[in-house]
């Protein structure tokens, strides 16, 4: 038995083993909590972003479920899932973390994520982040299905693009996301918000049907995702201009 004591003393001496300083443990504890906080924020932001995208998709009711399934960023969810696992694992490694049942931790994490997610959505943070990512993050459009892409499926009755030229109150020319040029026909039954002011450069979402090669009949026209004027002169359609 005393042999063990001398062996340990010897090992401490020869290997010059020293107790790790207290500040290292404190630092690790602080870093762990900071990491936990950051991960919760990432989870919350992701949810906020997802809500933002879903709402931005603005899909007609009958296509909503399919669109919802398509809008789910599966790759992102995988990453987020891994983040959540790290989060739970790290939390359980904290001084008191192991005392809480795993199911309670997961439930708490879900509640916290939903809270932060809705908070970021309603505070507009998710919207700003979405714009930043869309404009600056390469590959973002591959990870998530952008609203513009959701609306660009002419065969399904959705067309998205920028008005190039307005020929008359019944027709305009539209440039789609793949540089296709469409003639869009409007009828007296075409619905559009009376607040929409059409002008070249305006991005629009159109619901309708393909009637010929690059010819589309519009049933409904909604403002596009980027409604900022590009300096073109407004053109009022069917007296809807204000």
């Amino acid at each position: 038995m005393n042999n063990l004591i001398s062996k340990i003393q010897e090992k401490i001496k020869t290997s010059k083993i020293k107790p790790r300083p207290k500040w290292q443990f404190t630092l690790i504890a602080i870093l762990t909590w900071v990491l936990l906080l950051v991960l919760v924020v990432i989870l919350g932001l992701s949810l906020g972003l997802f809500i933002e995208l879903l709402i931005k998709h603005d899909i007609p009711g009958y296509q909503r479920f399919t669109s919802f399934l398509q809008a789910i960023p599966y790759f992102w969810i995988l990453i987020i899932g891994l983040v959540a696992i790290i989060l739970v694992f790290k939390f359980r490694k904290t001084r008191k973390g192991y005392k809480i049942k795993l199911s309670y931790i997961i439930f708490g994490l879900i509640v916290l994520t939903i809270f932060v997610g809705f908070l970021t959505y309603y505070a507009g943070i998710a919207r700003d982040l979405e714009l930043v990512l869309e404009n600056n993050a390469p590959g973002y459009g591959k990870v998530v299905r952008l609203p513009q892409d959701v609306w660009f499926s002419p065969e399904s009755g959705n067309l998205y693009g920028e008005i190039l030229k307005i020929d008359s109150a019944q027709q305009f020319i539209l440039l789609d996301r793949e540089d296709g040029i469409w003639i869009v026909y409007l009828t007296s039954e075409t619905m559009s918000s009376p607040r929409i002011v059409f002008y070249p450069g305006l991005e629009v979402k159109i619901r309708g049907e393909v009637i010929d090669d690059y010819e589309f009949e519009a049933f409904e026209i909604r403002p596009g995702f980027d409604t900022r004027p590009k300096g073109a002169k407004p053109f009022c359609l069917q007296g809807g201009c204000r």
Binding site: L4, I5, K7, Q9, I12, R20, Q24, Y98, I100
Partner: protein
Amino acid sequence: MADLADQEQDIRHVRRSLENQIFYADIVDKYQAKILSFIRRISGVNQEEAEDIAQEIFLKAYVNLNNFDQDKKFFSWLFSIAHNEVVSHWRKNKKRLKDVSIEGEELAERLGKENNLVEEIDLKVEKTELKNAINKLNFKYREVLELKFIEDYSYQEISDIVKKPVATVGTLINRAKKQLKEIMK
């Protein structure tokens, strides 16, 4: 009261060890027997191997002395290090240790005296039979039984050692008893 004095003594030992490593011998001296018997009983290694594991445990404890939370009991902290070390040793040598017979005599005796278990298991069986059954128990179950019935630790203390919620410790002990019952059928 005795517990409190014990804890105060441990804290004193820790402080002195941090000042001078010579005093760490007091800690090793106080706990080596308990740690060695814990290692041997739950992992089934021989004395020599148990001493190697114990050495690792005490060295790790020494390196992490500053991480000891004085609000908790020192032995819980030390046993939690022992738990991790034994689990890691067990994982590395799983195949080799699988068929090793464990000195479960004391555990068998204590378990036999456990009233609830006497009711649950018809303890007309021989003690050796119980010992054999303990040998067949899953590692995690054997560990909690050991901590509960040999070391006589409370659920809270076992929770601090195995780093699992108290309720889970209770479940583990119940499952361990159930598994014992199954094996002995």
